[in-house]
Amino acid sequence: MSDGAHVAIGGILFSRTPMALIREVLRARRRGLTLIRNLSCYEAELFMVAGGIERIVTAWMGIGLPWGVSKIMRHHVESGNVAFEEWSHLALGLRFRAAAMGLPFLPSLTMLGSDLMAVGGMKTLEDPYTGATLAAVPALFPDVALLHVHRADRFGNCQIDGYPHMDADIARAATTVLVTTEEIVPEEETRKHPDRTVIPGFAVDALVHVPFGSYPHECYGLYEADVEHFDEYAKGIDARGADAVSDYLERYVYAPATFTDYLDLFGGERLARQGKKARELT
């Protein structure tokens, strides 16, 4: 990944976030990135404080209702340091879908009449059959996609359990696709359940086996989001602002040399507890 790359992040908010890959991009200290993610969680705050991004393309940014509006995001956007390019959730999804289909745009009824139209420069077009006004949602081809999946074989055929979010479209849309997986399965396993494969191996450029690769975010059926960790993180910002995020980067991103070292900061007991909660819910 080069400085200035347009990077799409799979999963959504705190679900199936490719945390291990994000950690490595932060450790590589890339600059001038554009982050693209429909619901941006605090990974975008980490990039803002690390000085790695100049733009987010998103429908929403925060952790969730209980944590309020992101103070880090407000500071960086209100000062003009980072551009907040806002699209509606569906429109941004259709931007990936159009690219995934190899089309320059897709017609839609969403975002019409709103002030969001002007933000990303969305144009309208006339339906050639009825004359009706449609939004022409432009395709978005990210340079790089970062994704985390439940299982994949060594050829990169990927399967996702539970809600698929937008990962399948993102994988087709991006030029380079990097995937981490909870489990590497034999090719025979893929062939036994080909209906569950949502990303074909030919769309994947690199695959890494990283159990708990979304932690402390959730992975459907495997571990629930570690909300207490979010609380601690947010409390730190309430008390000390961006300094708390810098410390967080040091402790969770820069200091642990491997993802195993990183997971050790949470401890096996905690990971097992989150696993149990997930199994109760699915």
């Binding site: 705190f14 551009a83 569906l90 709103s114």
Partner: protein, 255 residues
């Protein structure tokens, strides 16, 4: 009469708006609680559509989701489509009601959850953004806004239209290309507001217990019209409150 707080009143009154055998797009917090309550009462065959790509979940009491994108929101769901496809059900006309909140709302039911003051790219206050709100407002057959009634929220004209209501009234929503939908009700902590069928300006339709028409006007930053008949909202019953509280025993969203 039972005692209840503003959040409980909002959830109970909003729940009463939902009909059986319909579909509702609901976000987390009071909208989801209201939908879950309606499902336990008058609307057992209500299907919830959640923007994380979740259809037909049954929210487990005491395990309320804090996000529309987590396992708690998907408990016992009947379908988990990709997020884009969940919204496309609405674009196809399958979603009857969209339940939404809003930081700032104007007399035509337009909502702003993007920026307050200043230039868009360098705003005075940057809000979290639309999420799925714009899509819900654009594509559901009917929109019900659920919000606290505060003067600073109810402004003559929003700083930025994140989610379209009736735009500038007078047919402008249809002219923008939005084929159907529009805001039918605004359920607040003081009353239920609707819209004049011609001008599409906001009007008072019902007054909640403890509130008055004057109090509603005082807490609104623009002139409200009066509906031909203004009703009194029946107070939440003990039964409604008991069911609602059982859904959120930790008072995560009920305060």
């Amino acid at each position: 009469m039972s005692e209840y707080n503003a959040q409980e009143l909002l959830a109970v009154v909003a729940a009463r708006e939902l009909r059986d055998d319909t579909t509702v797009f609901a976000g987390v917090g009071v909208p989801l609680l209201a939908a879950a309550l309606a499902k336990q009462r008058q609307a057992p065959r209500l299907t919830m559509v959640i923007e994380g790509g979740i259809i037909g979940p049954e929210i487990a009491p005491g395990r309320l989701p804090i996000s529309t994108n987590e396992m708690r929101a998907a408990f016992r769901a009947t379908m988990l489509p990709a997020i884009t496809d969940a919204f496309l059900f609405a674009q196809r006309g399958f979603v009857d009601v969209g339940f939404m909140g809003g930081a700032q709302i104007d007399q035509f039911g337009n909502i702003n959850t993007s920026v307050l003051g200043g230039d868009y790219w360098k705003p005075k206050v940057r809000l979290p953004g639309t999420g799925g709100a714009n899509d819900i407002a654009s594509l559901c057959r009917e929109i019900i806004i659920v919000t606290a009634h505060e003067k600073r929220r109810f402004v003559p004209k929003v700083d930025f239209i994140t989610s379209p209501g009736w735009l500038a009234g007078d047919g402008s929503r249809g002219r923008a290309g939005l084929l159907f939908g529009g805001v039918s009700r605004v359920v607040t902590t003081l009353g239920t507001l609707g819209f004049d069928p011609v001008s599409r300006r906001m009007r008072i339709e019902a007054v909640h217990p403890g509130a008055t028409i004057d109090k509603i006007r005082e807490n609104t930053g623009f002139d409200l019209l009066d509906a031909p008949e203004i009703s009194a909202t029946p107070a939440p019953t003990a039964d409604e409150l008991a069911m609602l509280r059982a859904l959120d025993p930790d008072r995560r969203f009920l305060g």
